[in-house]
Amino acid sequence: MSTEPALQYALPDARGRFGEFGGRYVSETLMHPVEELQRAYEKARDDRVFQAELSGLLKNYAGRPTPLHFARRLSEHLGRARIYLKREDLLHTGAHKINNCLGQGLLARRMGKKRLIAETGAGQHGVATATVASLLGLECVVYMGEEDMARQAPNVFRMRLLGAEVIGVSAGSKTLKDAVNEAMRDWVANVESTHYLLGSALGPHPYPMMVRDFNRVIGQEVRAQMREAESRLPDALFACVGGGSNSIGLFYDFIPEPSVKLVGVEAGGRGTALGEHAARFSGGKPGVIHGMYTYVLQNSDGLISNTHSISAGLDYPAIGPEHAELHRQGRAEYTRVTDGEALDAVRLLSRLEGIIPALESAHAVAEVVKRAPRMGREARVVVNISGRGDKDLGIFQDAGIL
């Protein structure tokens, strides 16, 4: 088996473009801070001291490497394919978000910033940011839509317990998009003291690249773990896609391997009409929002749509620009799973594997549930369990999935 990547892939370019997607669409006041961030990040990326400190924290604080669990009962239940679960849910704070937060937190400290701000949807990124702020002794403010504060209440409490200030956002649909808006307004007014710790592979360059790089460890571990378990590459990878950080983290090191199918799962919500889902590739078109050119759910006048998903972390009208490019190339396939299918997957994984996934991750599981029965006996697939379901227990109860 070759360990060398088969294809060349080196995105983004110097202007922060993944093909035509990405870029840097921010007001002039933010141009200097994002340029400064890019320079600081590129320096840190090549700095062995920085990388050693990050690796140490990922290992001894966050709990890396995470296991790759062979889901025997799920595999048998669904047919013949061998299904592996990448256990990002076992990380400290309960999701992959800590990978990026530790990286950006250390970077912010190097840049002399005293204050971290963040947006959060499901609260997992907010909790991870609050955690890192506590660890590094930085001030922390998290913006969260009021709708999300209500449906992810345990995470609001966790953030406050960790010493963060949580500010509710009542504009728009009161969800992730509106939280990003408010975080950007805070940042533009406090650029000297503050680092905006963006939680997904989106926003102006260098965020999509940087957040991907900090999550790339997921795919690197999977590659090594599959070699050990199966002595081969997996046939397919499945991950949910909100902004797209856990999925790009899993996919990235496999992009040059044409035999590995990459499947991103978007939130199909409760219908196909605009406003009823967050499936950008089936309902959106290219546009500019939150500093990037990418696929966006919008109306014909260029106004950004509200979205719906039972999963707060997928409830976002745009998608990270690298996914837009992988979609254009046909290198990755993007599909959608409904609220109901995700809830069914939560129940199935809980009963068969003793793992209660986050609603976000359950979207990826649901897609495998649909496809596995049609796969051959030789198929080896990996599903990213990006987070654990503790935060969603209230929603599970309300949905009556017992």
Binding site: Y25, E28, T29, H32, V296
Partner: protein, 280 residues
Amino acid sequence: MATVCTGRIETLLRERGPDGAGRLIVYLTAGDPSLEDTEKLLAAVDRGGADLIELGVPFSDPIADGVVIQRASERALRAGTTLSRVLARLPRWRQAVHAPIILFGYYNPVLQYGLERFARDLAGAGAEGALLVDLPPEEAEPCVAAMRSQNLDLIFLASPTSSDERLELVSRFSTGFVYIVSVPGVTGERAVLSGAVAPLAARIRRFTNLPLAVGFGISSPEQVRQAQALVEAAVVGSALVRTIEESYREHGGQAIERFVRWLISGTGVQFTMETQRHKD
């Protein structure tokens, strides 16, 4: 930039007013509270003496704006305001005022409308140009080309956070004038004019002879005069939009006309800093 057009705005801002004073630019959001009212409000600020009008196109996610203009955008969107409806009415609105009009907004609605089509319709309406807050020079080549082909100005922002390299870039791309953001932050009224304006204006002057206008935070006649002492023009946005929010329904266009006159002359009693600020 290959072509340099000395347009109407640049000429206007370069000249002082009849009494030797600097120029006043006002901002209001199109469609707030309705598209019908916008015509009356444009006429009111024009009668009040505004030299140039920035007409805001409401956007669903106005991340560069503070709460006052956010609320105006929400009202305008609820009233059904879109870029295409603004452009459809703009020829008539433009006829009704003396002051030149530029559109002020966010990039995505313009991108979806079509850059060439936007420039053509803007020119056809008799407007002078546009300012798109989330479109920095680095991403602006296609939009600049479309605007230049119609002899329209595209105005770029300069901020206290801009490096000299960036000010050079902004100066090279901007036509009409360069818009100075007085403080890092979103739009909204502030108690005093930022001390950052004078040094920033001096830095920009090293790169361009274009007129400069300063905005973000200017809300009183004193601040207008302070700004005009440093640069060619002062921009008042949130303070006017809030006056529309508070006084237009009850007192009509006359109240808005009086407010603009007060900004210029400092007289006209009912608009003091105290009464303006009580809701902040």
